[in-house]
């Protein structure tokens, strides 16, 4: 399983990287952590002419937390998120989701930007991005643009990113104190891609009822989904057992997962509902 031949460049600055990318007109691939790209090359599922290694772009490896929100540089690795104590309060949902990503060795190399760009339908980071209405900042020779997470993921391994663009930053909205949240994932084995996962949060209005509910499911479609029908079940209610049961049913009703070698569609449909149910129970506690 040796990779097909390619050229390699390791630019020192972002403009250099962008220039190389645009010069190769779709025939170059970006190398971030390599944890998703290298297996693709090992199976010869892609044969780019050039690999552009982003490791020298150290500016992209910062985590900034301000009252306006959390900014994750695209080259932030999973272990950076694990080690940044601020994030436990600044964005506990992100931390909970990242705890499920792959394995120890992969977490030392894999990056946030890489995961977002790869867009595996069962990956945690795209799910968090969609659930939390993240913004993906993409740079090109022409400048930068902001793509809403809801518009970014277009299908399995397919995104709105152009061939000449590099993700530089993922922005998560600020996380208010007092927000209730839950994350539940079920995989065949620890560290595997999710059979289904749910990420959700809600705030409470003046009367203590749920408001601003965001409910996302992972691994049950060709991209992460935000389920507005489930959010509608939650908003304006106190989250009691009946609401939770309704939300579970609404989740299953809203999706139509395929069957694959690991699980049937019917199972995933029910499982996603269970993930939402258990995430809500987690949020309520």
């Amino acid at each position: 399983m040796k990779m097909p031949p390619f050229d390699y460049a390791c630019p020192a600055t972002l403009p250099e990287a962008l220039a190389l990318l645009s010069a190769h007109d779709g025939d170059a691939k970006l190398l971030a952590g390599g944890q998703s790209l290298v297996p693709v090359l090992a199976f010869r599922l892609a044969a780019p002419k050039l690999l552009i290694d982003l490791r020298k772009l150290t500016d992209l490896r910062t985590i900034n937390i301000t009252p306006g929100g959390i900014s994750l540089g695209a080259m932030v690795r999973w272990c950076d998120i694990e080690c940044d104590g601020r994030l436990c309060t600044a964005h506990p949902l992100l931390v909970a989701a990242v705890a499920h990503v792959a394995h120890y060795q992969i977490r030392n190399r894999g990056t946030v930007g890489g995961s977002i760009a790869h867009a595996d339908p069962a990956a945690e980071m795209p799910g968090i991005a969609v659930t939390c209405e993240a913004e993906i900042v993409a740079a090109s020779k022409a400048g930068t643009r902001i793509i809403k997470a809801g518009d970014f993921f277009q299908g399995a391994l397919t995104t709105a990113l152009e061939a000449d663009e590099i993700i530089v930053e993922i922005r998560l909205p600020a996380w208010p104190a007092g927000r209730r949240w839950g994350f539940q994932e079920f995989a065949r084995r620890r560290g595997d891609f999710a059979l289904a996962a749910a990420a959700l949060f809600y705030d409470r209005d003046a009367s203590g009822k749920a408001a601003n509910a965001h409910v996302g499911v992972i691994g049950v479609a060709d991209r992460p989904l935000r389920l507005s029908s489930v959010e509608a079940v939650l908003n304006g209610t106190s989250i009691d057992a009946a609401t939770i049961a309704q939300a579970e049913a609404a989740t299953s009703a809203a999706i139509n997962p395929d069957s694959d070698i690991h699980a049937s569609g019917a199972y995933r449909k029910a499982l996603a509902g269970t993930m939402v149910e258990r995430a809500l129970k987690m949020a309520v506690e």
């Binding site: 399983m1 040796k2 990779m3 097909p4 031949p5 297996p39 199976f43 010869r44 079920f186 065949r188 084995r189 620890r190 560290g191 595997d192 891609f193 059979l195 070698i261 690991h262 699980a263 049937s264 199972y267 029910a270 499982l271 269970t274």
Partner: protein, 757 residues
């Protein structure tokens, strides 16, 4: 000096190199002028090869040759069967390269020889292989229709039916007060090894000698096949066993590459190395375990088993491999397991399909049959109003009945009998260890959102396959000893175990056994290898014989040298003395060596039980093992430390087969589980709570060590124990698992098929 190294939990010698990264596996060895082989494999499950154009590949950088069937002098060699080589199987044997048809995804079609593996793989993409697809035979049912034939020279896709018979089952069923018929199936999985396969061949044109590196399991037998195929005398071929990264039955049988690589080395007149990658390994290493069974049991009202009858259908894949029939034979011969069954009529059908061919995997046929019978027992006992523990106890064979004859299998005329053992004792011990009496009331109870269940399963494990094994002992120039074995290492610790046996037999400190050499064909005159849990018993017994012969040789040499009678010579560690006090040191006899042989036609039967306590989440379908115990009687344990490792390792493999591992194909014979993200192996998090207890209550009467082969018992009953535990956990839903693997999706379906009250 009376030693007791046998029975001691000694740390292993092998570890010293493995822990430091100084193991020498076949890919770690370099040769001057090496070329690398890369194999073109069929991307299609069933088809006719219309054309194979290698011209463009030959022009690729670094490519020296592309070998296909047309480059073979004469017809393409066929791989013969090693075990149960019945004439009926001949039409279904595998050619080393596909030439007119391809019959499974992964079948070798051509070999590229290049300066590097990467360049070879680049060249693969330039080969034009045109295949006209044929209707695929994706399962036994389709095979049985015989509409599409895998082999046009045959009339059927069924290569053979084994018949297991004992007594008169039809009569027993006619008169039985109670019968029940059920169907079960086990999914396809295999003995994946962490080190994929590898072969390196070097041809010395001057001396006309072929050296093969990477040999494993049965090197003497493989040499015999290769010699015939390649047209050389056996004595011109050396098979070298290096360190081996796991075997489990799958590595070391004669595969196409075991001919292709030596052939390539002679063809290109340079050494050639082939290292299998994981993508290949999943589709090219022997598959196993896929079987479905329709079986019926006849019982007396008090739960006494009267008879077993039925059919088992084995999905053999595309070709009959060297040992492919073993599992199918075992599944009917051993369906009764450790139970007393006076009447047996079981037919085991071997169906050829468009899948990777099947070979043995630890406990071949026994894992499947254990699942079938143990599930059936758990279904039948409540019908009769008998507790499932009492049912088993009533029917387990007792020591008073040993040796206990089992079903006779035709063709192959396989007759066998169990050797020794009080199976109920191990069973009761196992129940006690898991706390059955206190915990059984948890069955079907919902605690913290999960249903709890206990399951039990009993096994026998056949070991010590004959017909013989050879060992050699030699005196080194410092008076220490070297041991040479015809049996092989697959990671089980032979270098340590045989040092223990040798040190005890020679009555010397263990550090005087300087080295244990194994496997390679230049060490002993003949050897049979490591399979069917035979190394300790067969190799160890041969070593005891070698010790006797070496002592006799030492005495004879000493008598001559000291001019006295042989009977007056005494040997004490490294000093040889005569009765009148004259002596000399053993090192002066350096080079003296003696061989020993052990002939055996009696298998050993280790036995025991598995008990599992599970908690099942009905919505996730997740099975958590709360506790798991194996109690196994091995007759005599040479090294309890390594033995425990064998049992626990086997249990985890068994649990992998019971709930995680599944090789899958679609209806067109396309292989769907092509990576380790698709084929799921157990990890350190999956089964943390496992225990085993080894007992030595009933040594085997069939060998001087009294030991019984014990490497497979841990895998055999895992499917049965786990499935029974799940069945009892989900009893409120009337769940009856009939299929393995029990994936979360499948478990959920069992729950959904009937809702809880």
């Amino acid at each position: 000096m009376k030693n007791t190294f046998i029975g001691a939990p000694m740390e292993r010698r092998e570890d010293l190199r493995f822990l430091r990264g100084r193991g020498e596996y076949v890919d770690d060895i370099r040769l001057e002028g090496l070329l690398h082989a890369v194999i073109l494999r069929s991307p299609v499950g069933h088809g006719r090869i219309a054309s194979l154009d290698t011209a463009a590949a030959l022009k690729c950088p670094g490519v020296h040759a592309v070998i296909s069937a047309k480059d073979m002098p004469g017809s393409v060699p066929i791989i013969p069967m090693r075990l149960q080589p019945l004439p009926e199987f001949k039409p279904y044997e595998q050619p080393v390269l596909a030439h007119d048809k391809v019959r499974y995804v992964g079948e070798p079609v051509a070999v590229v020889l290049a300066e590097s593996v990467a360049l070879g793989e680049d060249a693969l993409e330039a080969i034009r292989l045109d295949i006209e697809p044929l209707p695929a035979i994706a399962d036994c049912t389709t095979a049985a229709q015989n509409r599409s034939l895998l082999f046009e020279t045959t009339a059927t896709n069924c290569s053979l039916v084994f018949h297991a018979r004992k007594g008169d089952a039809d009569a027993a069923f006619r008169d039985a007060p109670y019968t029940r018929r059920e169907h079960f199936s086990t999914g396809r999985h295999y003995g994946l090894t962490m080190e994929p396969r590898g072969v390196m061949a070097q041809w010395d044109a001057e001396k006309e000698r072929l050296t093969i590196f990477g040999a494993a399991k049965v090197p003497f037998f493989n040499r015999r096949i290769l010699a015939k195929q390649i047209g050389l005398p056996e004595t011109a071929i050396d098979m070298i066993e290096n360190d081996v990264g796991g075997g489990y039955g799958a590595r070391g049988e004669f595969y196409p590459e075991d001919f292709l690589i030596p052939f390539a080395a002679r063809y290109i007149k340079r050494p050639v190395k082939w290292i299998e990658d994981r993508r290949e390994n999943l589709m090219a290493m022997n598959h196993a375990r896929e079987a479905s069974a329709e079986i019926e049991i006849a019982c007396a009202r008090d739960g006494t088993i009267l008879a077993l009858r039925g059919d088992i259908h084995n999905d053999m894949g595309a070709y009959m491999r060297t040992n492919g029939a073993v599992g199918a034979r075992n599944v009917c011969q051993f369906l009764a397991g450790p139970y007393r069954v006076p009447h047996v009529k079981l037919d085991s059908h071997l169906w050829m399909t468009n899948k990777t061919p099947v070979g043995t995997y630890r406990g071949p046929g026994r894992f499947e049959s254990n699942f079938f019978l143990e599930r059936l027992i758990d279904m039948v006992s409540p019908d009769l109003g008998i507790d499932r523990v009492d049912f088993r106890r009533r029917n387990l064979v007792t020591q008073a009945e040993q040796p206990y004859p089992i079903a006779h299998v035709q063709p192959t005329d396989a007759k066998d009998q169990y050797d020794s053992g009080e199976y109920r004792a191990a069973f009761d011990h196992c129940l006690k260890e898991i706390g059955w009496d206190e915990k059984v009331k948890l069955c079907g109870q919902l605690i913290d959102g999960r249903y709890h269940g206990l399951g039990i399963s009993c096994f026998i494990e056949g070991g010590a396959a004959g017909p013989r094994e050879t060992a050699r002992l030699e005196v080194n120039d410092d008076g220490t000893f070297s041991v040479y074995l015809g049996t092989t290492s697959v990671g089980q610790g032979v270098e340590t175990i045989f040092a223990q046996i040798a040190a005890d037999a020679l009555e010397v400190p263990i550090d005087r056994i300087r080295h244990v050499y194994h496997g390679s064909t230049h060490y002993v005159s003949d050897g049979y290898g490591a399979y069917h849990s035979r190394s300790t018993v067969m190799g160890g017994s041969a070593l005891l014989d070698a010790t006797k012969n070496l002592h006799a040789a030492i005495r004879a040499a000493a008598a001559k040298r000291l001019g006295c009678d042989v009977s007056t010579i005494s040997i004490s560690e490294d000093k040889i003395s005569s009765a009148d006090g004259r002596s000399f040191l053993l090192r002066e006899l350096a080079g003296l060596s003696a061989e020993g042989v052990f002939n055996n036609h009696h298998h050993t039967y280790s036995y025991g039980s598995h008990a599992a306590h599970v908690a099942v989440d009905p919505k996730l379908g997740q099975i958590e093992i709360i506790d798991y115990v194996v109690v196994q009687d091995v007759g005599r344990a040479v090294n309890p430390l390594t033995l425990r490792g064998q049992v626990i390792g086997a249990v985890v493999q068994g649990l992998g087969g019971a709930c995680l591992e599944h090789l899958q194909y679609d209806d067109d014979g396309q292989f769907l589980t092509g990576s380790l993200a698709d084929y799921l192996l157990p990890t350190a998090s999956d089964f943390p709570t496992l225990r085993c207890v080894i007992t030595e209550d009933y040594p085997s009467p069939n060998n001087p060590l009294g030991a019984k082969g014990a490497g497979e018992g841990g895998i055999i009953a895992a499917g049965g124990a786990l499935a029974n535990a799940v069945a009892h956990a989900l009893a409120p839903f009337g769940a009856q698992p009939r299929t393995l693997p029990l994936t979360p999706s499948k478990v959920w379906e069992l729950v959904m098929s009937r809702n809880a009250p």
